[in-house]
Amino acid sequence: MGISILSLCYFIASVTFILGLKMLSNPATARRGNLIAAAGMAIAIAGTIFLYENDGKRLGNYGWIFGGIIIGSIIGTLTAKKVKMTAMPELVSFFNGMGGACAALISIVEFDYLFQENRMLDSTWFSDVVPAGHYLTIVAGAIIGSVSFAGSMIALGKLSGKIKDFSFRGQHIFNLLVLALVLAAAVFTYQTNVKGANIPFFITVFLALLYGVFFVLPIGGADMPVVISLLNSFTGVAAACGGFLYNNKAMLTGGILVGAAGTLLTILMCRAMNRSLKNVLIGSFGGSSKSDGGNQSEFGNYKEISLSDTAMLMAYSKKVMIVPGYGLAVAQAQHSCHELEKLLNEKGVEVKYAIHPVAGRMPGHMNVLLAEADVNYEKLLEMEDANKEFKTTDVVLILGANDVVNPAAKNDPSSPIYGMPVLEVELAKTVIVNKRSMKPGYAGIENELFFQPKTSMLFGDAKKVLQELLVEIKNT
């Protein structure tokens, strides 16, 4: 009886995951979709706690289970509620890492059971007492979970600026070597004597953690969204390994669904940047950009524009296009941005937003940010539509975006971002760039756009500049 109800719980959970993901793909139903998936998750968790039977025995240790769930819920809710919108990518990366670590820990405990059960046997090979499939699901969960955990933590550190890009000669080969060692250690564990199987297993886990670190370390900022998405799908697969291990369909459907969807999302993002997944995986971004040397004077001088000139220019134009970037997110300037839009509208100026798919630190980052400030959905143009409209635009206001408007992506084959589709802002009549300084963007490359005659620089923190600009425009 209990078991059939449990199966039903898992069935409901699986269906809610599918429905939830489906509803998440439509703005009108997205929020409900998320809640439905959460409800399904709650059912699956409650069912597992009270109905799961292991060899005919109910689960014990309720104190520990509830204790863990309560601690996790409190920390999870608090961090999720308190964190600023700018730190969303970090947070997703963090929670993803937690899931990966959880999957790895499950595998480690399950391995330990196998090890304890069989260690007393005299001179038997591990492969004789444990079926290959069973071992495979355990070790795969451990490896993928560890890579996902270590990788997510490094991505988190890089996003928050605590860890710098780090690469050295022959890093690709080194990474592949570490990966090969991980697999070799996993195979060796299986082929070894049961008495000593735990040591190579822990070496496998350690190497997998190491691989996770070196996997993300050399990858430059422009690739961070791709990496998070990829690690997200990794954790999905790790969860699915648990599904195999416990013959649990909820874990399997949830895990594989995320694994497949996450992989596709990753590929879509790579395509948006015109790079292959393999290229990203090997992590070649950081190294190549250094060869440029980044000589500032090579493009000549840039010119600055005053706030009042900017205000005049914008107030008397017909159409203004705003290009938001990470700088807008850092400055939390989305509300001021929306006010500027409203003010210009009152003055009869048409205002639209041009959103590059990888502007900010995650795909859709800008959309979320502007949505927070109540910017109308229909004013956000995707890249292709925006590029069509730049020709008829009078003023482009770039707020803290850099690499996504770099013309080098189109005309400089030696540039590391060559081939990435960019917003063709230089088609507009005037370009005003708001930045804090002349420092290059996250990809670490110089932007020729800033030195073009059409372009003027407006230095300062995006929020402060926008607020001052608002006052100036009101006075014109």
């Binding site: 601690i71 929670f95 499950i106 969860a239 459907t253």
Partner: protein, 102 residues
């Protein structure tokens, strides 16, 4: 070779699910507007928190004197819960902002 065949044979039902879910996952994501990429990634992130079920099982079947299993299982439950609860709450927070639209 025999081992692999055995594994497939024993888990044929699960393997069917895997194949179907791969196609379903791709199908669902294929139609997502780029606006929703971040919430979707976050939502998917919460869903793979289903790994918590494994953590609960590990924790629940640990013997009272098996301290390794107890400790690691406990940690796994905490981390898994973080993933699930944090993931759903963050996604909800992001989507809340879309809701006010007409």
């Amino acid at each position: 070779m025999q081992a692999i065949l055995n594994f497939i044979n024993q888990n044929v039902e699960l393997i069917y699910i895997v194949i179907l879910m791969i196609f379903l996952g791709i199908e669902i994501i294929g139609r997502v507007p780029s606006v929703l990429h971040t919430p979707l990634m976050s939502g998917a992130n919460a869903i793979h928190g289903v790994v918590i079920i494994g953590a609960i099982i590990v924790m629940g079947k640990a013997e009272n004197d098996n301290y390794i299993a107890l400790m690691l299982g406990f940690l796994a439950v905490i981390l898994g819960t973080l993933n699930v609860v944090g993931g759903f709450v963050v996604t909800d927070r992001m989507l809340e902002m879309f809701k006010k639209k007409k």
